[in-house]
Amino acid sequence: MIELNDVTKRYPGGHEALSHVSLGIAKGEMVFVNGRSGAGKSTLLKLIAATERPTSGSVVVFGQNIGRMRRTGLPYFRRNLGLVFQDHKLLYDRSVFDNVLLPLQIQGLTGHEAGKRVRAALDKAGLTGKERARPITLSGGEQQRLCIARAIVGRPQLLLADEPTANLDETYAGEIMAMFHALNQVGVTLIISTHDQSQAQRYGGRAIHLAEGKLL
């Protein structure tokens, strides 16, 4: 499903975030990308999500080479992904319902079917009853679950989560990881960046380690 071949990512200014990384991830896998801050975890996820392009090497996702993809093709590619961010990236002037509805509106889905899918995603995220609330009124854990509901409402084949539990206490972090585990059980491929090395053992996924941009 995902192939990285000798990938290097160098940012303007010369900082090399990833150096000659080669990696393969199969469909249905749950992969934890471990490493300290600045190890290149976020860059790896950005390359897979096609929000960055590799400086050299190739990143192939769903059989498509990200480096060669046309700019106009990127939105359609991203609709196959679910993205979960450490800082949630929620729209605070919209309701919980409207935040989850947004990916479906982007895909041109509205009306009864869209509403049904939003409610199902909110149900999975344990946010039923909070549809009309504003994200700012939710706790940190609930905001992260809202972010996950938004990520899964489009029924993505691949879910990328960048430090999804970094700012959460143990209880909330446990809830989030349990959600990811449940999603993986129904066939969703997951790549989760984290600095907590024990999560892979606890949730039964594959762990890969990055240090200073290199795969260990």
């Binding site: 359609y76 590619f77 990236k89 947004l102 990916p103 041109g108 889905l109």
Partner: protein, 301 residues
């Protein structure tokens, strides 16, 4: 097709929501647009009314040819027949001196000639030309004046032609003003949209990450521009109607004092709709310009 409609419905809803969320800012923008539209539209309306009021005095391609008193009727008629053959002459009407006198008496001006030994009026020809161009009329008048039988040639529409020239100048000024204010309208909308784009960078970034296309991002801004322009145009229509309503009585009084039944005519439904549509179109153009110039912000992700 459903997705296409869904996208447009979503874009319209987002644009309308942006107007609704900042009602004061939207109201100010709409009023500024309305003011920019009202001035040239009001002047256009004024000129249109003036045109109607002076329609009877519009310049006619008509010449009056008066013969010398000693010219025989047969000669005058013959000259009329020759002129009728000319390609630039549409019609020639002969008015004999006896007929002219009768007309004068009919008008109650018979006393003027009563004391005179004979009929002082000459034979005359009334010529209508195919070409109303002033230069062509002048050329024909000059040719006729050179004939030995002709005493005088009157080009009666001089003042009306001056009025027409004034109207044309007025029209030109209105179009210039309309262009200028149209540009202002597009600039106002463009600036509003540009500020909106900067204010919504985060939202744009999120939408981009979730798979939004350029068109999806752009469309609500375009709808917003068009909607704001349309509301400005409708407001301008309303303001013009209100102004006409307030002036109607006074104008009617003034016209009555001059023995006229002239009344100010407002914009027709078609004109009003055209005004709103043009305003909406200018808003859309402003939005297109703003979006094109802030493209980098739209591609934030």
């Amino acid at each position: 097709m459903n997705a296409w409609f869904a996208h447009h419905a979503h874009s319209f809803a987002v644009a309308f929501d942006r107007l609704r969320r900042a009602p004061l800012a939207a109201l100010i923008s709409v009023l500024v647009i309305a003011a920019a539209i009202t001035l040239p539209a009001g002047l256009y309306l004024l000129l249109d009314n003036l045109k109607k009021a002076t329609a009877d005095a519009a310049p006619r391609a008509e010449l009056s040819v008066f013969f010398k008193l000693n010219t025989p009727e047969a000669t005058a008629r013959q000259i009329g027949q020759v002129l009728q053959q000319q390609p630039d002459v549409a019609s020639v009407r002969f008015i004999g001196r006896d007929e002219a006198l009768k007309r004068l008496e009919k008008l109650g001006l018979g006393d003027i000639t009563a004391g005179l030994p004979g009929n002082p009026l000459p034979h005359a020809l009334i010529l209508r030309t195919r070409d109303s161009n002033p230069a062509a009329l002048d050329r024909l008048a000059e040719t006729l004046r050179k004939r030995p039988e002709v005493d005088r040639v009157n080009l009666d529409s001089g003042w009306a032609r001056r009025l027409n020239a004034f109207m044309q100048l007025g029209e030109r000024v209105i179009w210039l003003l309309a262009g200028l204010f149209g540009l202002a309208l597009a600039a106002i909308t463009g600036n509003t949209i540009r500020l909106q784009i900067y204010a919504q960078r985060d939202e744009i970034e999120v939408a981009r990450l979730l798979g939004a296309t350029d068109r999806f991002i752009r469309r609500p801004f375009l709808y917003f521009g068009g909607l704001q322009g349309l509301l400005g145009g409708l407001t301008a229509w309303g303001l013009l109607s209100l102004a006409l309503f307030l002036l109607h009585g006074r104008i009617a009084e003034l016209a009555a004092a001059y023995g006229s039944e002239f009344a100010l005519a407002g914009l027709s439904w078609l004109d009003g709709m055209a005004l709103a549509a043009i305003s909406g179109l200018l808003g859309l153009i402003g939005a297109l310009y703003a979006v094109a110039h802030t493209q980098r912000s739209l591609r934030i992700a």
